[in-house]
């Protein structure tokens, strides 16, 4: 648009309304590869809905989403993953009847090279593929610290573990951009710190991370940029420190506690 | 001595239960009585009875079981034409006589060595009805048929013979076996110009509902039912609406009204008395089919003086002038039904009762 190099993710003027409620109202932002881009804001002010718009779960009533320059607005979720966008869910969407490792193996779906017919006939290639997939899934579980629980049924995992399981599953799609909806919810500060390292790691490997989170310590510490949504509208956008000091943001969202937490991140 | 085993597969449950149930009861009753009288050829008789639930596939399995496991020497059963057709190959192959209780003409046409049947065919019923219509000067009729096996087959047979009587069908409707309202179809018939009478080939509760809806719409034309409703329960179900309905039926429904000279009178009276005493339910033609079936077989065994299936078959085929409750049977190598049109009587329902040979208006 403005002639500059295309951003990895470019969301412009996106919006949706439920009944009379403008849950997301003309929001725009850009995310570059390797960046951690955080979205914060009061409860119910449109963060998750924004994710749902970007990932094609809701159909936007206005606006565009571009991924690496290509218009992907309104593409079905499974097609988006194929183009390199993966996400986790605030309300867990885990395959509860499968084991932890199988959950991640499903995530590897796109990289698997077998056909329906081969699967049906049980060709040797399928067995080989299964072994490859499993190995890769184990690596990912190890990365999020769940390797010891690989064979446990997902239904039996504690809440915090499920959040990490979803991240491993999303990573399995080898995304270019990863959208995380409150990954640290249900983690204690120590566990949050591990999450912090994990996200930083992911970003370092060149993946863009878009993060929704209420844990200010985490947000302030690892974000490159922060977008604040209030009542579906952008309230502020900028580097973490600038956002933290914005009086509107403090009044609408952070409060004293949040501001304190945010400060702790910066030491 | 070893019992003589007679097999049976009927639809004692399922959609045709009201046919299969009286058949089953009759068979049990008569085998019991037979044994009280000392059985056959000095041996007790054992009835091996299975319920196919109206499923032809199950009937086939039970047929195999009767032949292979139970080693029966003869078979009386097959409530529906479909089930009978499914079982025929089993008995033909094993060489065991099979007396079917189903209506379809294809059971005995072409004639198969081991297969006989007791009920009238639909064709005879149609002929009887059209004779009556013709006598009343009716030339244009509406038809409303059930889509069950009985209704469909009778409809086809009627359409085949109708031209012999110079009658034409000007409205042709159907209803499903389980429908509970036939007003739309009857309404169409009502609005067809020139119609003079309505014929309803069908069995089960359908004809009763047709009869009620017919009265509700005030159609006011003669209504003909088939032998498929020839049981007291039809009158109960249709209620006052049944008044004036005509149908062809075997003697059994009007046993007490038969002329004293009628050959069938004593047989019918005896069956009616014993069935109603044993079951507490009114007789129906369907039980009568079973009665005739088992009688034909036991008589054949007595005549053959042997429980060898082949010999029973030969004796069966030699049956001559057996007076049953359905009619008088004479089998020949080319006729395994052996009933004439005269075994049907034309009845009219008046004040909740059957009236014989109602004179034409």
């Amino acid at each position: 648009m403005n002639g500059g190099p295309t951003s990895l993710l470019d969301v412009s003027d996106i919006g949706i309304a439920f009944g009379g409620l403008k849950a997301v109202d003309r929001v725009s932002f850009k995310v570059e590869a390797g960046q951690v881009f955080s979205i914060i804001g009061p409860n119910g002010d449109g963060k998750t809905t924004l994710f749902n718009l970007v990932t094609g779960i809701y159909r936007a009533s206005q606006g565009k989403v571009r991924l690496a320059g290509e218009d992907i607005t309104g593409l079905a979720p499974h097609l988006l993953v194929r183009r390199g966008m993966a996400r986790t869910f605030q309300n867990l969407q885990v395959f509860f009847r499968m084991s932890a490792v199988e959950n991640v193996m499903v995530g590897c779906h796109l990289s698997e090279r077998t056909s329906f017919l081969a699967d049906l006939l049980g060709l040797p290639a399928v067995g080989r593929q299964n072994r490859v997939t499993r190995e890769r899934a184990m690596e990912l579980l190890d990365k999020v610290g769940l390797a010891p629980l690989a064979d446990a049924s997902a239904g039996a995992l504690p809440y915090g573990a499920l959040k990490r399981l979803e991240i491993a599953r999303a990573l399995a799609a080898s995304p270019k951009i990863l959208l995380l909806d409150e990954p640290a919810a249900g983690c204690n500060p120590v566990e949050t710190e591990a999450m912090d390292h994990l996200i930083a790691d992911i970003a370092r490997s060149g993946v863009a991370v878009v993060l929704i989170e209420h844990d200010m310590k985490l947000v302030m510490k690892i974000s490159d940029r922060v977008l604040v949504l209030a009542q579906g509208r952008p309230l502020a956008e900028g580097p973490p420190r600038a956002v933290r000091d914005n009086p509107d943001v403090i009044a609408a969202y952070l409060g004293d506690h949040g501001a304190r937490e945010a400060d702790r991140a910066h030491g | 001595a070893d019992p003589i085993k007679i097999g049976s597969v009927v639809s004692a449950t399922g959609p045709s239960a009201f046919l299969g149930d009286p058949e089953a009861r009759t068979l049990k009753l008569y085998v019991e009585e037979l044994n009280k009288k000392g059985g056959l050829l000095g041996r007790p008789v054992e009835l091996v009875l299975y319920d196919d639930g109206g499923d032809a596939n199950k009937a086939r399995t039970f047929a195999t079981r009767l032949v292979e496991d139970d080693k029966v020497v003869a078979m009386v059963g097959g409530t529906s034409t479909g089930a009978t057709m499914a079982m025929i190959p089993v008995f033909e192959e094993a060489g065991i006589p099979f007396v079917s209780l189903a209506g379809g003409i294809e059971i005995v046409e072409p004639v198969r060595a081991f297969v006989f049947k007791t009920p009238h065919t639909d064709k005879t019923a149609c002929q009887k009805i059209f004779e009556d219509m013709k006598a009343r000067g009716i030339t244009k009729i509406g038809m409303i048929s059930g889509t069950d096996g009985f209704g469909k087959s009778m409809r086809n047979q009627c359409l085949k013979v109708i031209s012999d009587y110079a009658i034409t069908v000007v409205a042709d409707e159907t209803y499903g076996a389980t429908d509970s309202d036939m007003t739309p179809q009857l309404n169409k018939i009502k609005n067809t110009a020139g119609i003079q009478a309505v014929l309803n080939p069908g069995f089960g509760q359908g004809p009763a509902i047709v009869t009620r809806n017919f009265a509700q719409l005030g159609i006011g034309l003669p209504l003909y039912q088939s032998h498929g409703v020839a049981s007291k329960s039809f009158i109960d179900l249709a209620g006052p609406a049944a008044d004036g309905v005509r149908l062809p039926a075997p003697a059994i429904l009007v046993g007490d009204k038969l002329a004293a000279s009628d050959k069938q009178k004593p047989v019918v009276a005896e069956y009616k008395a014993s069935y109603e005493k044993a079951t507490g339910q009114p007789v129906s033609t369907f039980g009568g089919y079973g009665f005739d079936g088992i009688q034909l077989v036991t008589k054949a065994i007595e005549k053959a003086k042997s429980a060898d299936p082949k010999k029973i078959r030969d004796a069966l085929e030699g049956t001559k002038d057996y007076v049953g409750v359905t009619g008088v049977y004479t089998f020949t190598p080319t006729d395994h039904l052996g009933l004439g049109t005269d075994s049907f009587r034309m009845l009219e329902i008046r004040k909740g009762d059957w009236v014989l040979e109602a004179p034409t208006r």
Partner: protein, 233 residues
């Protein structure tokens, strides 16, 4: 008020709680901390009776309740805001709240409803909306509000601050303190351990299904082991 004596619990063959002992006195706020999978949620479920206790006794106001069905425990005055919110999705926000008072239909219901709306004004705004279309944080507020509607004597809170904006976390903890001042007793499970211990009279640390430490909130806050393992300091 509540005494837990050697309670064990398991899912199928997997034992999760191993002889847990703890006590909550009337009018106290007791915090329960522990890492993912320690068994905090399982303990609360066992207290509410939706998860059977394999062994041990639970005394509430001096009487054993471990055999009572869940609704009887609610009638005695124990209510819970569960993990994962568990709102009645297709029902409206207001119906959810009214159902919170299922066992306590009295003159006070209206007042408590207003109280909850006062605490979370957004719920009042959305009172006619199906609970499942609320945002995550709004659902969390609803779950807490619903538990309050029962006017319990003992309130069990499973990670009430989960998914709430920082501003609201402050409000919730303040509200818990205010409720205590009105005589309510609270057993609080929190990942935000420093905040929880700060308002708690006493605290317990749960590790793989066992109580490994207990003390006053202030004491635990400064305990080096707790600080390292749960506060990240």
């Amino acid at each position: 008020m509540l005494t837990v004596e050697g309670v064990s619990s398991a899912y199928g063959r997997i034992s999760v709680l191993h002889e847990v002992w703890l006590q909550v006195k009337a009018g106290e706020i007791v915090a329960l901390v522990g890492s993912n999978g320690a068994g905090k949620t399982t303990l609360l479920r066992t207290l509410s009776g939706v998860q059977p206790a394999r062994a041990g006794r639970i005394l509430f106001e001096g009487e054993p309740i471990e055999r009572l069905e869940p609704h009887k425990r609610v009638m005695r005055g124990i209510s819970q805001s569960p993990e994962g919110r568990q709102v009645f999705g297709p029902l409206t926000v207001e119906d959810n709240l009214r159902l919170g008072a299922y066992r306590r239909q009295d003159a006070g219901t209206r007042g408590r409803l207003d109280h909850v709306y006062g605490l979370f004004p957004v719920l009042a705004e959305k009172r006619k909306i199906a609970a499942m279309s609320l945002s995550g944080g709004q659902q969390q507020m609803l779950a807490i509000g619903r538990a309050l509607m029962a006017a319990p004597k003992l309130l069990l809170l499973d990670e009430p601050s989960l998914g709430l904006a920082p501003l609201l976390v402050d409000q919730i903890l303040a509200a818990v303190r205010a409720l205590r001042a009105e005589g309510l007793t609270v057993l609080l499970v929190e990942q935000n351990a420093s905040a929880a211990l700060a308002i708690a009279d006493r605290g317990y640390v749960l590790e793989t299904g066992r109580v490994v430490m207990e003390g006053t909130g202030a004491a635990l806050l400064v305990d080096p082991k707790v600080r390292a393992a749960y506060l990240g300091l």
